[in-house]
C-alpha cells in the first residue's frame, strides 16, 4: 500500500465490504432508534406517532428492568468465571501427552457444535427433569429429594447449561495459548526452584493472560445476547429474565415495538459500559 495508485485501488476494492457492513449495522441501529421514540403497537393501531422519551422512561421504571439487568450480569459473570477456570484446567490437561489425545480433544470441543436450543432442551429433559432426569435419578440413588432444577435453582441451572456450551471455546483458545509457551521457560523456572503450583502461578497464568482477555471479551459479547437457552427452559420465569429476553417479551408478547426498541437501546448502552469496563480491567494485557 505504498503508492497513491495502490491506495486508491485498495479503497475501491474495500468499498463493497465497508458499505455492506455499515449498512448491516447502521440500518437496524437507526431503525431501533427511530421506533424507540414512537408509540408503535402493530396489533392495536400501528404507528401512533412520536412520543419523545416516554418509552425510555417506561422501560426503566418497569419493575422488571433492574432485576433483568441483574440477571444478565449474573449469567454473564457466572459463565465467564466457570468457563475460564475450567478452561484453564482443561487446557493444561489436554496439553499433556496422553493416549487418544485426538479423540479426547474432539470430544471436548463437541458441545460447541450443538445448537443452543438443542443443548438446552437436552439438559432440560435428560438431566434436569425432576422425575426422569439423570440428576433426579442420581439424587434418588443417594436417597435425596430430587431438585426442581429449573424452578428452584433456575439461575445456577442456566449458568451451568450456558457454561457447558462455552467451555469448549475457552478451552480451545487457552489450549493454543498454552501450546505456544516456550518449554524452556518452564524448565528454567523448575531449575529456579519453583514447584508445579508456583510455575502455574508465575509462568503459565501470566502467559495465558492475553488469551484470557480475548476469551472474556468475545464471550461477553455473545453471552449478553443469549436467548434460546432461556426461551426453551424457563421461558423467562423464575427470575431468569435477562435484558434481551425482556426486550423480546415487550416486542412480541406485549406487541409494543416502541418500548422494546427503547430496551434495545439500553442493551446497547449496557454492552458498551460492560465492554469499556472489561477493557479497562484487562486492557493492560492487550498492549
Amino acid at each position: 500500500m505504498a503508492t497513491a495508485q495502490s491506495r486508491s485501488a485498495a479503497r475501491l476494492m474495500m468499498t463493497p465490504a465497508v458499505v455492506l457492513l455499515l449498512g448491516w449495522m447502521l440500518v437496524p441501529l437507526i431503525m431501533t432508534l427511530y421506533f424507540s421514540f414512537k408509540r408503535y403497537l402493530p396489533l392495536r393501531g400501528g404507528d401512533l406517532g412520536w412520543v419523545g422519551f416516554e418509552n425510555y422512561v417506561r422501560f426503566v421504571t418497569s419493575s422488571a428492568f433492574w432485576p433483568s439487568v441483574q440477571t444478565t450480569l449474573i449469567i454473564v459473570g457466572g459463565v465467564l468465571v466457570i468457563t475460564i477456570c475450567l478452561g484453564v484446567l482443561l487446557a493444561i490437561l489436554l496439553d499433556q501427552p496422553m493416549w487418544g489425545q485426538g479423540i479426547v480433544r474432539i470430544l471436548v470441543i463437541a458441545p460447541f457444535f450443538v445448537m443452543p436450543t438443542v443443548s438446552a432442551l437436552v439438559w432440560k429433559n435428560m438431566f434436569m427433569d425432576p422425575i426422569n432426569g439423570l440428576f433426579a435419578h442420581l439424587w434418588k440413588f443417594f436417597g435425596a429429594e430430587p431438585i426442581q432444577w429449573l424452578s428452584q435453582a433456575s439461575l445456577p441451572s442456566l449458568v451451568m447449561i450456558v457454561s457447558w456450551q462455552w467451555l469448549p471455546f475457552a478451552t480451545l483458545i487457552l489450549l493454543t495459548a498454552i501450546q505456544s509457551l516456550d518449554s524452556e521457560q518452564l524448565e528454567a523456572a523448575e531449575m529456579d526452584g519453583a514447584p508445579a503450583l508456583k510455575r502455574f502461578w508465575y509462568i503459565i497464568l501470566p502467559h495465558l493472560s492475553r488469551a484470557i482477555t480475548i476469551v472474556v471479551l468475545i464471550q461477553t459479547i455473545f453471552l449478553l445476547a443469549i436467548f434460546a437457552e432461556i426461551f426453551v427452559t424457563t421461558g423467562g420465569a423464575f427470575g431468569t429474565k435477562t435484558l434481551s429476553y425482556l426486550i423480546f417479551q415487550r416486542v412480541l408478547e406485549s406487541q409494543n415495538i416502541g418500548l422494546g426498541s427503547a430496551g434495545g437501546v439500553y442493551a446497547i448502552i449496557l454492552a458498551n459500559i460492560l465492554a469499556m469496563f472489561l477493557m479497562r480491567i484487562v486492557g493492560k494485557n492487550l498492549d
Binding site: 516456550d182 524452556e184 524448565e187 528454567a188 531449575m191 529456579d192 526452584g193 508465575y202 501470566p206 502467559h207
Partner: protein, 334 residues
Amino acid sequence: MGRITLDQVTKSFGEVNVIPPLDLTIEDGEFVVFVGPSGCGKSTLLRLIAGLEDVSSGQIRIDGNDATALPPAKRSLAMVFQSYALYPHMTVRKNIAFPMKMAGVPEDEQKRRIESAAKALNLADYLDRRPGQLSGGQRQRVAIGRAIVREPAAFLFDEPLSNLDAALRVGMRMEISELHKKLDTTMIYVTHDQVEAMTMADKIVVLQAGIIEQVGSPLDLYRAPRNRFVAGFIGSPKMNIFEGEEAKKHNAHAIGIRPEHLTASKEGGTWKGTVGVSEHLGSDTFLHVHDTGLDETITVRVGGEFDAHHGDTVFLTPEQDKIHRFGADGLRID
C-alpha cells in the same frame, strides 16, 4: 563446591540410544566445555546433569552425594539456556529475583545480590525494563544474572552465545571467562564451536554420537588428538588429513598436518601444487592448494603479506615433528 561425577550414565529416548555408557568427572572450580557437532548429545548430557531429563541408567554424583533422583531445584545448579528462557512478563529485576524469591531469600539480601549482579553484568540501567525491550546481549546478561544470584555449586550453559552476532560473541566469551575467574565456580559449557571451546575451557570434552572421544586441556587436544575425529574437529582451519603414499612413508594409514605447520615457498619444497583460493585475513593468509597428489585440497597458513594468486605454483614443506600419524582404526599412533 561443585564436583560432578557421571558414572556409567546412559540415556535413550525410546529405542534411540543417545548416550551410551559414559564416565566423566568434573572437578570443583573447573571450566569444562562439551564440544561436538550438532545432534551429538551435548544438550542431552547437560540436561541429565541438570536433572531436566532422567538418566536411563547410571549415577550422577554432585560433591560425592548421589543426585541421580534429585529434582532439578535440589541440585543447586543454575542453567543458562540457549533461548535465555527469561520470563517475558517480569522486569529484569524480577527475573533476577525469581530464584531467590522461590528459595525464600530475605528481601534486603535479594536486593544486595541483585545490585551486585547488575553491577557485574552492566545491567544497572535496565533493571526496570522487560526482556522484550533488551538486545540479545543484554538478555544474555540477564540470564547469567539470574543464574549468579542463586550462588549455585555449578553453572550450566547450553550454547549461550549462538544467538549473538560475531562481535558480541567474542565480548561475551571473555565476560563469561572473567566471571569464571572471579567466582571460581564450576562451569559446564556446551557449544558446537571449537573456537569457544579452545578459548574458554580448562578442560574440553569432545563428543561424537554421545561417545566421549577425548578429554583434555585445549592444548593437549591440539597437540595430541587421540583420533582422526578430534584431529579434524579441534583447530581452525581444519587439519589436513590424507591417506595414501605419503602416509605409508610414515608407516601410518593416514597422516595429518595442521595448516600452520606447513610452510609455503615459491622456490622449492616437499610437495608441489597450485593455488586455488587464497583467503587474505590481513594477519594471515590461508592458501587452498590443489594438485598436490595428497588430497583434494591442502590448506596452508602463510604470512599475511605472502603474495600468491589463483593458479600460482607453490611448494609446501611440513614440519616433520608436527606430523600426526593415524592407524587404520583412526586412532593416533605415537
